[in-house]
Amino acid sequence: MTVQNTALDLDIRGPSPLRKYGVTIGRILLIIALFWIWKFGAEAAGPLYIADPVKVLQRIITDTESGALVRDVYVTLRLSLIGFAIGCAAGILLPFLLRLVPRISNAVEPYILASVGIPKYALIPLFILYFGIDDAPKLWLIGLLVFYPVFIAVFAGIRSVDNRLINMARIVGAGEFTIAREVIWNSLLPFFFAALKISLPRAVSAAVIGEFLVGDEGLGYLIEHSRQNFDTVGVFVGIVVATALVLVLNTVLVWADKRVNGWRPVERHMEL
């Protein structure tokens, strides 16, 4: 009987505050702990190797006020998003075009899959050679890195579409374009969003790496330029801001995913 009573009590009172906010409190404590580890590490290793977190925060504030950091964020964000858009567009369009010609699709599939193995960063010197030192080589790099996950997801998504739905649509009079847009596109959206969650952080990473090598603006340039001047605080500012940028973009993506795939019975969000 005691057991039953306890269960009843819990039902009435609901979860205790500690249970309810336990996770949130834990997260905050963890952040504080990490901050202190960082601070301790900075003191132990010296300011040349690990920048003091307080100084990093101060620098972020002053550089934001002066507008320099805002400019860098804008440059990197713009580059990432344009490259991301190009990679996405190609990664979506190509599988849909290949679908129209199954023979060609079957012929090129192994080659496309094999080309996934090419280390894209190794192509940067070639891109610089071919496309100069403006945005073009960086956009090629970002575009390629985004293209592959999207292409593979959409390609696999198209193959996994329920044929019975396509037949239904044909019977009620839908043309090929309507079938592609309504049945296939909606069926593969979950695959597509999974791919976006991989490729969006990649796009920012690729933009930063591109800026290490080419150009005189952006977060990548800030990091590399600061390193060359032994300004470790500047390096850490670049890293922290780039990370924050990825987190913000990801939040937008998760929000879009929830909106678009909200009809799904179970929400299986892989929040990276």
Binding site: R164, M168, A174, V183, W263
Partner: protein, 264 residues
């Protein structure tokens, strides 16, 4: 009887064996029957008799390997899947075994889908759809997604999706197969009521003898593969029929016995 609306003559269908290991399997061979305009034809046969394949060929989502299917004196192409015209320009509707609702569309959006792609979505059509939704008891569930509906509700949605765009012929492939007896009877009543309003031509495939008798004007009995017609029965039980009491009708028991003897 006037000229048949739909005519199946010496139809044959072969499934190719796996990579030369198996012999090609003839699921349908030398199958012939015709359907008159406004007729409710039921086709009964054991599972694996090629019933679904037959409907797929009539609806032109699958290709025949011999014989012909003639609809309004238009003959289906043979052996060439690319030449098929699924649904024959919206003149043949098809209520499949699975509901095949689009999971990302709500009930209402699913029912409107055919009208939408046919460019016939206007106020009159919407009004008609709203009536159909109420007629089958889906009122209040217009904005629910398919996964939020029960199996019977999904069947109803799939049924009125086809009725909504008003094709002159409707093929039905065991549409009420996977439902409990109560829901099933309810849906059969709904279907008969809706059919009485429009008097469409219906080809209804089932493996349930009682259902075949209760719904049809005529019943064809198919044999095991390769499917052939082994029996034909006119069902003269007057309409409107009382589905729940149809077993009490004097003709029912005799028909049931005869059909049952043929279904093997």
């Amino acid at each position: 009887m006037t000229m048949p609306l739909l005519e199946v003559r010496n139809l044959a269908k072969r499934f190719v064996g796996r990579a030369g290991r198996d012999q090609p399997l003839w699921v349908i061979q030398d199958l012939s029957f015709s359907v008159a305009d406004g007729e409710f034809l039921t086709i009964i046969g054991p599972s694996g008799a090629g019933k679904t394949t037959l409907l797929n060929m009539i609806a032109q989502i699958d290709v025949a390997n011999g014989g012909e299917v003639k609809f309004q004196s238009q003959v289906s192409p043979l052996n060439d899947p690319k030449a098929l015209s699924p649904g024959l320009s919206c003149r043949i509707g098809y209520v499949t075994q699975e509901d095949n609702l689009l999971p990302w569309r709500t009930t209402l959006q699913n029912v409107l889908f055919p009208l939408e792609v046919q460019g016939r979505l206007d106020a009159v059509a919407r009004e008609h759809v709203a009536k159909l939704i109420r007629a089958v008891g889906l009122g209040g569930f217009e904005n629910h997604y398919p996964h939020e509906l029960s199996g019977g509700m999904r069947k109803r949605a799939s049924l009125i999706r086809t009725l909504a765009y008003d094709p002159p012929v409707i093929l039905m492939d065991e549409p009420f197969g996977a439902l409990d007896a109560q829901t099933r009877t309810q849906l059969q009543e709904d279907l008969l009521r809706l059919w009485n309003l429009g008097k469409k031509t219906i080809v209804f495939v089932t493996h349930d003898i009682g259902e075949a008798i209760a719904l049809g004007d005529r019943t064809l009995v198919l044999s095991r593969a390769p499917a052939k017609i082994v029996g034909e029965h006119l069902i003269t039980i007057p309409r409107p029929r009382d589905i729940r009491g149809i077993m009490m009708h004097p003709e029912f028991a005799g028909l049931y016995q005869r059909i049952r003897a043929e279904v093997q």
